[in-house]
Symmetry: C2
Subunit: 476 residues, 2 copies
């Protein structure tokens, strides 16, 4: 059956106008809508269901690594921000400020949290007494607000949802280990749940979190070859401990400042999924986070037994823990095919009178746009296996697409050519801010992360000996 082209035509061309493709897809699939206040978004049920799946998977991993959830107030006294010099410089320009409440002007303006190191640090200083209280391993699921000039749904919005882990440790080593452990959790999650291969590594001083000693990031390649920072993990040293007096009585009887970390991922990840896997037909969602994993489309639904069989198959799959939608609307099968392909449902099952008679179901894989068939006998098991295969194949395909687009450059011209061609570019860097700034000015690329375990001879800008091999890319 030929696909109805109406829907395809409603989405801008993915190759020639990727930004418009993105906007078309997020709106038409009802993932999101614009809120009434500039820069805000409404996460609609189909988009929020992805977030809930992300939350479930991450939350399980946070607990398995010993973390507990808590909730801290959203309003932070302006004076808290100022206690850490770099922190206030980084965040003050983009905060939203509550100046009036309960009909009165407040004595001190309150900031809507852009991140919670300060208010959580304030509480930790109250709670922490002795080395016996350590480590403190707390995570928070919350909304945060950063007033941005240019916004796009999921990628950059005034308000977004995220999780922020905040931990306290007795020693530098433990805190650094935690920072890297959570980066590892993010990477494993991104690859196995979102089917997005990521490059993890340390960030440059320029790109690090305001107030951190070191920031580690994970970078994902989008369809257009640009990078999306999909998560960060910060080693904060004693910066916040000193600013907020987070001290403990150690085993040796001495009062010591603790070491802290913080790490977070946000609804931005939904943008990453869209831009890493999407194609001209719309979304392509990895099964682990897809709100609907299987859509059943009845063929010749009015023929005796078809609807009944579809309902039966739906129940069967649901009982096996699969998220299923039976589209029994009045629309034509062709219309339904387009609709659910655009919405990125990983697997379509078609059931018509002849299929039922032959004891099989026709299938369509969204990732490979590939038809197939499965016997009705043992369908739940074979569908589960197929979903696992799709999940794995999507990661492999994304990795293949990405790896072809990681190039090496030895000079500025090479970096420019590389990023203009939609690549991640590896290049040597001397470590000085001037060279980093020049690359940004001349190529619009930024240093994403250090390429771990790799070395370079010369800086691609100044030709002096290179301290690091860096991955440069244009980024969201």
């Amino acid at each position: 059956m030929a696909n109805d082209s109406r829907f395809v035509n409603q989405i801008a061309d993915i190759e020639s106008d990727f930004p418009q493709w993105y906007t078309d897809v997020v709106l038409k699939t009802k993932l999101v809508d614009y809120g009434p206040v500039k820069g805000t978004m409404v996460i609609r049920p189909y988009g929020y269901a992805i977030w809930e799946n992300i939350q479930r998977e991450l939350d399980r991993r946070f607990r398995a690594t010993g973390h507990e959830n808590a909730y801290f107030p959203m309003l932070i006294p302006m004076s808290f921000l100022s206690k850490e010099k770099e922190h206030v410089e980084g965040f003050a320009p983009e905060v939203a400020v509550v100046t009036h409440a309960g009909g009165e002007e407040l004595a001190e303006p309150l900031v809507v949290r852009p991140t919670s190191e300060t208010i959580i640090g304030n509480m930790y200083s109250k709670w922490l007494q002795s080395y016996r209280d350590l480590p403190i391993l707390i995570n928070q699921w919350a909304n945060v607000m950063r007033w941005e000039k240019t916004t796009r749904p999921f990628l950059r919005t005034s308000e977004f949802l995220w999780q922020e882990g905040h931990t306290v440790h007795a020693t530098e080593e433990e805190a650094e280990e935690e920072t890297k452990k959570m980066l590892g959790v993010y990477k494993e999650f991104a690859e196995n749940c979102l089917a997005i291969p990521v490059i993890t590594g340390k960030k440059t001083e320029k790109e690090k979190f305001a107030g951190a000693v070191a920031t580690y990031g994970m970078e994902a390649m989008m369809h257009d070859g640009k990078s999306l920072q999909a998560g960060t993990s910060h080693y904060l040293g004693q910066n916040f401990a000193k600013a907020f007096d987070i001290k403990f009585l150690d085993k040796d009887g001495a009062l010591k400042y603790a070491y802290t970390t913080s790490w977070g991922v946000s609804t931005r990840l939904i943008g990453a999924i869209i831009m890493a896997h999407g194609d001209q037909r719309g979304l392509a969602l990895p099964p682990v986070v897809a709100p609907v994993q299987v859509v059943i489309v009845p063929i010749a639904a009015k023929k005796a037994g078809v609807t009944e069989k579809c309902v039966q198959v739906k129940q069967l799959l649901e009982e096996a823990g699969i998220r299923v939608k039976l589209d029994d609307s009045d629309n034509s099968p062709g219309w339904k095919f387009n609709e659910w392909e655009m919405k990125g449902v990983p697997l379509r099952i078609e059931l018509g009178p002849r299929d039922i008679e032959a004891g099989k179901a026709m299938t369509f894989r969204r990732d490979k746009l590939e038809k197939g068939e499965l016997p009705l006998e043992g369908l739940a098991d074979s569908v589960k296996q197929l979903l696992d295969t799709i999940q794995k194949d999507m990661l492999d395909a994304a990795r293949e697409r990405r790896d072809k687009r990681i190039v090496y450059a030895s000079d500025m011209a090479g970096i420019l050519k590389g990023v203009e061609g939609g690549n991640f570019v590896k290049a040597g860097w001397c470590g000085c801010r001037e060279c980093e700034d020049r690359i940004k000015a001349e190529t619009a690329a930024t240093a994403r992360v250090y390429a771990e375990g790799e070395t370079a001879e010369k800086c691609a800008v100044c030709g002096k000996p290179a301290k690091h091999m860096v991955i440069f890319a244009r980024a969201y």
Copy 2:
């Protein structure tokens, strides 16, 4: 073994100083702490885990009744509030207002949501086209802010967490049915999950939600006989549909205003659990929402085999889906007993060398303060059964305590005597605002809900014919 009295003594007397008892319990059990901004609270891991259990149970029920989750922006243009006259009068005095963001003064001040009828109504008017789009059944889990003069953790705080359902229907009947259905969901949840018996019913005009046609509430009796409004469900008629232009093309080709509802419960429920079940030893948590359902305390832990057996029992119970804590700290058993009793863990299991030899475990039920024993053989099953029994018994006990304290009064003196004695008082009411105001002025009691299906002859205030039998109580 005699209980160590240190902890008991640290909690104020529940009968003579219930407010201080409450404060002592919420702080000492680490459910909550005060935030740095007046009126805010930090929900600590032990408190947040209760909220997560509440969320899980409610979310399941919302889905089973056809609702989906979504997320709407927290900041609402001030002008939205003004579109519904009663709504703005009710909420404007307690909103927090963002006037500056991104380093600039905003053209229009933004309100931090005190509730989301207005911003969600604005989106629904955009999304709703035809009767085919109805009903819209959406729920949101979010933080909200209401600037209150007098605050107490969980009961009344500037910021709190809640869920708010917002639905749209084609007809008055459907919307009213939804309003009552969700009230029923709340009641079933409160009784079966929180073990709190509730009285549900319609509220008076004075007590209804600002902007509603009718508000239905559920009222729970606290230890001191005062009432806590534990949840509300509002039938909004076409009030918000007209204010926000929520219209649809009906089957008959006519453009019509829709009918809407909203309903919510909040972290207040944690306060309800504390005050409905707590006693002089501290918290008593119902198993369904207890963060820890069973605590295992080793007796003579240094004796061979004790620790091993405790670890084994813990694993066994965990595999059966029970939330277990093994307290293998260095504290004495007596200290641990007090600690976990104060924290309200429903069931304690003690395991010592003699118990292990005899193939049994000693038990202690937090609700009845009752010792017992269980054979180690088949322990997971018998513990599960016992937790079910505790859950049921806690509801029965709370119901018995409450029912003894519902009295009838035929005049003002009777109402005053009733509420001063810590009772819910049923009394006839003529339906006029003056009489309702007089009761409040003279007894500090308010009309909680109409007593469903009950009638009264005369108004307890003016003696005129009664329109309703009303439940009056002092309330949190």
